[in-house]
Every structure is written in C-alpha cells, then in structure tokens.
C-alpha cells in the first residue's frame, strides 16, 4: 500500500516514509525513548500512545485492545514513573508514553455481577442493597476514584447509592466505561461498575419519566397506521420519489421539540 507521489512539486520531492493505517513508524530524525513493558525495556518513538508503542515494539494485542478510541474499557494500564511513588492509571489507547515509565496492562479484573430481572425491579435502593450487600463495605478510601481513567467520581456514586440516591448515582457514573480499575483497587472489594450499571438502568427505566409521545407513536405504528404509506413508497417511481424528496418541508431549527406541526400534513 504505497501512495504515489508527483514529482512536479519541489516541496516534498524527497521520498517520505508515510504511516498507513494504525501502523506506527519511526520517521527520519524522530527520537525514541525507553519504556519498560512489564519490566522489560523497549525503545519506542516518543509521542506514541502506550498501545501503539507496544505494537511498535512487536506486541500483537489479543486482550488489552478494543475500540482504540478511549470508550470500550479494554485497555486499562497501570504505570509508575521514576522517582514518584504514585501509581498512575490510564487507557493504553489514550495515554502517551513517557521516558522510563514502568507499565502493565490489566485487561481483565474479576468482579461479581448480580443477575436480576429488570422488569421486576422497583427503583428502590433497598433492592440494590440486597443485590450488592458489599456496598456497605466501602470505607471511603477513595482508591477507586484515583484509579478511574475516565475521571469518574466513583466514591461519589457509591456514596450516593448508600444514601439511596439512585438518580445521582446514575448521573455521576454516566461516563463509566466498565474497565474494572476501580474494582481492582477497592479495599471493600466492591464491584463498583456493576452496581452503577444497575443504578443507571433503574434510573432510565423507572425514575426518568417515560416519553409519552413515544408510547403514542408506538401505538400508531402497531395499529398499522403507516403500513400503507410505507408500502406505496416502496413501489413509487424514482422520479416521483425524487420530486417528493425535494418538496419535503424542513422543521425549523429553532422550534423546540413538540411545538412545530406543519398544517395539513397527510404523512404524519
């Protein structure tokens, strides 16, 4: 896979080495730095993420890589830096290598999850307490919050749940990507992110008000209201479709949802 270069332009006549896909390269003049991957030293180009640096070093991920975009939670990594007693946490796909960092990935951490039937659950904190009695083992050490690569206030949502505030816990925990770092550091041995998931689902299902207009639309669809309309569209000529497409009236940008209704629209 090589790009062709036109020689007309003087600017970049020199043949440049170009990275393709996600493969990192070491362009001329770039510097490398040492990093210790699970204790073993490798030289990798600076500015790479831990993930790409490991690939550059020759690792091929099986575990420890998923979305490569900071949202799936497959690549949590712990590291230390020389002269700094602190443990650092980051996503391998988002964290840039630093000279002499010592790192290890923790692609999986065991955490028990309670099974439940969401349709039978009242949005009641007591239910969360009975499914996860270990909630009360939290000693507020805050290790979880310090470990979270997404900056979620984990102790905050655990506290909210102990206080019976499901809505608050749902909102605080919304950015959780379920990487498991909090559980790996927990003194009380809690599976925080599973508890938060339960809270969010209770909140979404039974505490946030349901969308009434949606229920009405579902009824309309199930009663067959749009069946004929959709059928006739499927057999419509290209010309007619194109004409109707151009004629569509556009809902005004500034109209708040639920306020604008076109007059005499036979297709609603």
């Amino acid at each position: 896979m090589s790009h062709h270069h036109d020689s007309k332009e003087p600017k970049q006549k020199k043949k440049v080495q170009v990275a393709t896909g996600d493969r990192a390269i070491l362009p001329e003049g770039a510097t490398t730095i040492p990093v210790y991957i699970m204790g073993k030293r490798y030289e990798v180009p600076e500015t790479l993420t831990i993930m790409k640096a490991m690939e550059y070093a020759g690792f091929k991920f099986l575990r420890g890589a998923g979305c490569r975009g900071g949202i799936c939670g497959a690549c949590p990594t712990v590291y230390r830096k020389p002269g700094d007693y602190k443990l650092h946490f980051g996503l391998a796909c988002q964290t840039v290598v630093e000279p002499d960092m010592y790192l290890a990935q923790i692609p999986f951490y065991p955490a028990n999850r309670a099974a439940y039937k969401i349709e039978d659950l009242e949005p009641n904190p007591e239910i969360i307490f009975s499914l996860y009695p270990e909630l009360f083992r939290c000693v507020a050490c805050n290790n979880c919050t310090k470990a979270c690569p997404m900056g979620v206030d984990v102790l905050g949502y655990i506290s909210a749940l102990k206080q019976g505030d499901i809505a608050r816990a749902a909102e605080i925990s919304f950015d959780c990507i379920q990487c498991g770092m909090c559980a790996s550091r927990c003194m009380g041995e809690l599976p925080q992110y599973h508890i938060a998931q339960l809270a969010r689902r209770m909140y979404g299902r039974a505490i946030m008000p349901r969308a009434r207009h949606l229920a009405k639309r579902v009824e309309e669809i199930e009663s067959g209201k749009y069946d004929e309309m959709l059928k006739s569209l499927q057999t419509m000529s290209h010309g007619e479709l194109e004409k109707r497409y151009k004629e569509r009236e556009r809902e005004p940008d500034m109209a708040p949802n639920g306020t604008w209704l076109p007059a005499n629209d036979p297709y609603l």
């Binding site: 600017k11 689902r201 979404g204 949606l214 497409y245």
Partner: protein, 557 residues
C-alpha cells in the same frame, strides 16, 4: 506535549495568512465551491470509491465481475484458515438453536429477541462482548418519535440521502421499527437525553427534514451497548456468551441449510464445532482493512469476517464497493489518529489549509467531495504537512472560530474535542488541528431482505456487515438504528425459523472446497487466508525477524 517545535514553525505560516482570511470570512467571502463538473473530476480522480486505481473486478464467487476495492476483492478471493478434510464435523462441541456471530449492537439485540422467543442462544464474539463499533458511536440514533415527524419522512430522508440507491424493503422496515426500537431501549433502562417531562430531545442532522436524532450524552452507542450487554448477562440461562472466540467458517448441511460455524479460541488456539439450527452473522464493519492505507475510526476487530464467510458459502453482497470516508479525521497527535472531528468545526467557519497556510477548497463541500480535495492536496499537489509519525495532515484552522464568534465559542460548542486535544497539550481555540480523511463506515455488505434472511436457509445477517439499507451513502444516526431494528428482526426471524422445526442433515464444508477450487480455476495465485480476525500493526523490522512466520508462509506456498 503539544506540537513539536518544527510543527510550531509551520503553524506560523497559518497565522501569517489568517488576518487576510479573517477579513474575507467577515465579509462572508469564502473559497469558491466546485461546480458539479469539477466535483465529478476530483471525485473521479481522488475519492477512493471512484478512483479506478486500486479497484478491480472480483474473479470468484457469487459477485464475480463486480468492481471492488483491491483490499476487499483480495480478501474475498481468499482461502480458509482450515483444511476442510482435516475437520471432523461429526462430533459438535456445541449445539444450540441459534448461533449469533458478533456481539455488537446487532448481535446482542438479536440474542435478546431470540431468547424472548424461547430458544437457546450461543453468541460468540471476537474480542470482549461489547468491543465493537456500536460502543464508539457518539452522535445519536434516528427514529421518528416526535409529532412533527413520521416513518414517512424517515423513509424519505434515508432514501434521498442514499441517492435513491437503497433497498426499499429495508428502508421501510427501518422507518417502521425505529420508534419501536427506541421504546424497547427505554424499557431496558437506557438513559436517553430527555426533557424533565420525559420528552425525548431530538435534533436535526445532515440531510434531515425533521428532528429525528436521539441521543444519550455524547456516548449514545456506548450507552446502548452497556445496557444490551447487561441485559444479555441477565439471561445467562438462555444466552451463552463466548468471548475471544470468533467464527472462522460457516458450516452447511447436505441440503444447503446453514448449520452453524467453526469457532476459534484465539487464546488457546483450539477450534470448536458449533452446530446450530439457525445462524446470524452480525460481525460489523471493515475499517481495519485500511483501504488504501487510510486510518479509520473503527474498533480493533472490524475486519469484515462475516462478509468473507458468507461470500465463501455463496451469499452475495449489496453496495459493497461503497465506503464512507469522513473528511476530517485526526492526523495529529498520534494517539487520536483516525478519530472523528465533527463537521461542526467547519460549520463554525474554520478553514481547511495546506502547509503554506493557503486555502485550497471550500470547507463545506459534501463529505465525499471534501475528502477527495484533501487527498488531492496531499497526493497530487504535495502540500500536506508530514507529522512526526509520518502521516499526512492538513490544517483545520479552529482558532478562527473564537475570532469569528467570540472568545469561548470553541470551548462551549466543541467541549469534547477541546478536552480531547487539551489532554495532549493542544489548545484548539489557539492552535489549528491537523486532519486527514479517515475510513468510517462500510456502506454495503451481505445481501439480506427485511427479515434479515440471506439466500441460504437458516442463515441471517444484521447490522453494519449487511448492505442495501443505506444504499451508497449512509445518513448519520441510521446505523445505530440499523443494528437495533435489524438485530431485533434477525433474532425474532431466526427463532421463528427454529420454532417452525428444523432438521439438520449431515454437516459439511463442501462449500469451502468448492470455493477454493474456483480460486484455482480463476487463477488466483497465493490467495490470502481469511478472515484475518485482527489487523497486524507490527513494523517491517519486527516482521522481518519473525522467522517462524516467514518459514511457515514459505512452506504453505
């Protein structure tokens, strides 16, 4: 960390041309847009979908003769990982009613609906359950839920957006089911963005006539995926989930019905025979093929496995030649390469510039045209910046936004992007961004009907691996809806088929033997082995020292 000193030098050129460009922008003048004819030329020459170069007719299989990108064609003209004669199919390791291949949004929805219908399900997935493109979607999911909207307008917008090349039964199914999907997700406990009274917040998007984009924060896909995954885990009695266990080949029975798949435990390197009365392919997209070397927005396992397996078994494709490129993917810093930069940045007035800080295109051309112009500037004109990791980049002059709309606009309007770059030491309200087109979405794929049936009885497919719904151009928010609507449909249809009584005859891999014979007859030399399962990002230096692999390849040839 931020930009290197060399790059900072280059930024000075951008700053040098900025005052004059600002003057013009304030006067409402912009770089002239292309005429329709000029558009056609630049697309033809530089858009990867239009370019003749890098595309060729496929020589084997049900779509023989169809012109496809080189990477796709050679992946379809491939051999199996397995030698069929060595595989004993008589003692299946797993037996189930429905086998689902792929645990993204489509696969997991299918599993839940099949379980609802009372059948046993095995869902097998390549990485962890949820390591999928579904997890990555930020923007939203379409559904005509507001009073101002209806399935009619959803149909219209979708088919017009797809230049009327869409498969109409699929579009009708999508428009019909979309509100049902949203209600289903709501009942499962998904946290949609809502007004305090419960009304969904729906927005406009490119190509919409009505406000139809529903979302959950700026991580709609992740919220969908988390909820579906959690629910699947609640159904452990009916749904068995096998992680790190991709399917590598379909199994048929003597009558030509689909009878399951061969699974590969990537950790122990064991193969397993999974016999199933019905099979659903939901393996997602192909961004990781890096067509023409482009970076991509997709997850690590997006390697088109499902299309490969189905093609080998005789199932053809729809619109597989069509790929969506997003014109502005991140080119620097390296850790964000390929990730999306929303169109909104250009919408707010940022210019696209070359290495000398010169404008070379109208910043708001249609996506495909804009992508082609950036590629042209890099490849033909040669005025792209080369990043420290050897990538092409063109400037997107984001500091113009605050200058045009007032201090703080960037932070307010683009909070997620601002933070993403700030984390790496770049303040995009003060320094421009480096961008280059990125591979985003597999528009086409496995041919299905509105019940997700393929041409093989007992074989279903849903989600990004299928084709037809979007035609040659997908609208934002329709793919998340695609995976829920058709994921659900496929699960229900497969369960119906199983509940109707299915009797499997002797299992075979004859279709593989037959296809490999066809490869020989068509003169395909050294066919690759596929599915590839994961991309290989090792450097040439590393690869050249992997003597065992090199030896193995030589022996195979």
């Amino acid at each position: 960390m931020g930009y290197t000193p060399e790059m900072k030098e280059l930024i000075k050129r951008v700053e040098a041309t900025r005052p004059a460009r600002m003057e013009k922008a304030r006067r409402g003048e912009n770089f002239p847009a292309l005429s329709l004819e000029e558009r056609a030329v630049v697309l033809e020459k530089f858009h990867p979908d239009y370019q003749k170069e890098g595309r060729r007719p496929i020589r084997t299989g049900p779509d023989k003769g169809l012109v496809l990108p080189e990477e796709i064609a050679s992946m379809l003209e491939s051999r199996s990982m397995l030698r069929p004669e060595n595989v004993d199919l008589s003692n299946p390791d797993f037996e189930t009613d429905v086998l689902i291949v792929g645990g993204g949004g489509a696969g997991t929805s299918a599993a839940l609906l099949a379980a609802d219908a009372g059948v046993r399900v095995i869902m097998t997935t390549k990485l962890r359950h949820g390591d999928a493109n579904t997890m990555m979607a930020e923007g939203g999911i379409q559904a005509a839920v507001q009073e101002s909207d209806s399935p009619y307008y959803h149909y219209m917008d979708t088919i017009g957006g797809g230049h009327f090349t869409n498969q109409s039964d699929l579009v009708a199914a999508l428009a019909h089911d979309a509100p049902l999907s949203i209600a289903w997700l709501e009942s499962l406990g998904m946290m949609f963005n809502k007004f305090p009274d419960g009304r969904l917040i729906s927005r406009h998007f490119g190509g919409s006539s009505r406000k139809r984009m529903n979302s959950a924060g700026d991580m709609t896909g992740a919220e969908i995926m988390r909820v579906l995954r959690d629910e699947a885990r609640n159904r452990g009695d009916q749904i068995t989930i096998l992680e790190f266990c991709p399917a590598v080949e379909l199994i048929l029975d003597e009558d030509g019905k689909c009878a399951g798949a061969i699974l590969y435990n990537m950790e122990t390197r064991e193969f397993f025979i999974a016999k199933a009365k019905a099979t659903i392919i939901a393996t997602g997209g192909n961004g990781r093929l890096h067509i023409k070397g482009f970076a991509c927005t997709n997850h690590y396992g997006a390697t088109m496995d499902g299309v490969v397996m189905c093609y080998r078994a005789g199932v053809g494709s729809t619109c597989l030649f069509s790929t969506q490129y997003h014109p502005t993917g991140v080119a620097y810093p390296e850790q964000n390469v390929g990730l999306l930069i929303t169109e909104k940045v250009r919408g707010l007035g940022a210019h696209v510039l070359n290495i000398d800080g010169e404008q070379f295109c109208f910043p708001l051309e249609p996506r495909d045209v804009e992508s082609a112009e950036l590629i042209k500037e890099a490849l033909e004109v040669g005025k792209a910046v080369i990043t420290p990791t050897g990538r092409y980049g063109l400037w997107l002059d984001s500091p113009m936004i605050d200058l045009l709309h007032g201090e703080g606009t960037v932070r307010r309007e683009l909070p997620a992007k601002f933070i993403q770059f700030e984390r790496h030491g770049i303040d995009i309200s003060k320094e421009p961004m480096l961008v280059y087109p990125t591979l985003h979405y597999q528009n086409g794929g496995i041919a299905i009907n509105a019940d997700c049936e393929t041409t093989i009885p007992g074989l279903y497919s849903a989600g990004e691996c299928t084709g037809g719904l979007h035609g040659e151009n997908r609208l934002m928010g329709n793919s998340l809806q695609d995976v829920i609507t058709f994921g659900r449909r496929s699960g229900a249809a497969a369960a119906r088929y199983v509940n109707g009584g299915v009797e499997l005859k002797k299992l075979t891999l004859d279709h593989v033997v037959k296809y490999e014979k066809e490869l020989v007859e068509a003169g395909v030399e050294n066919p690759m082995v596929a599915p590839i399962l994961l991309p290989d990002y090792s450097t040439d230096e590393v690869a050249s020292r992997r003597l065992l692999e090199i030896q193995g390849k030589l022996e195979a040839e």
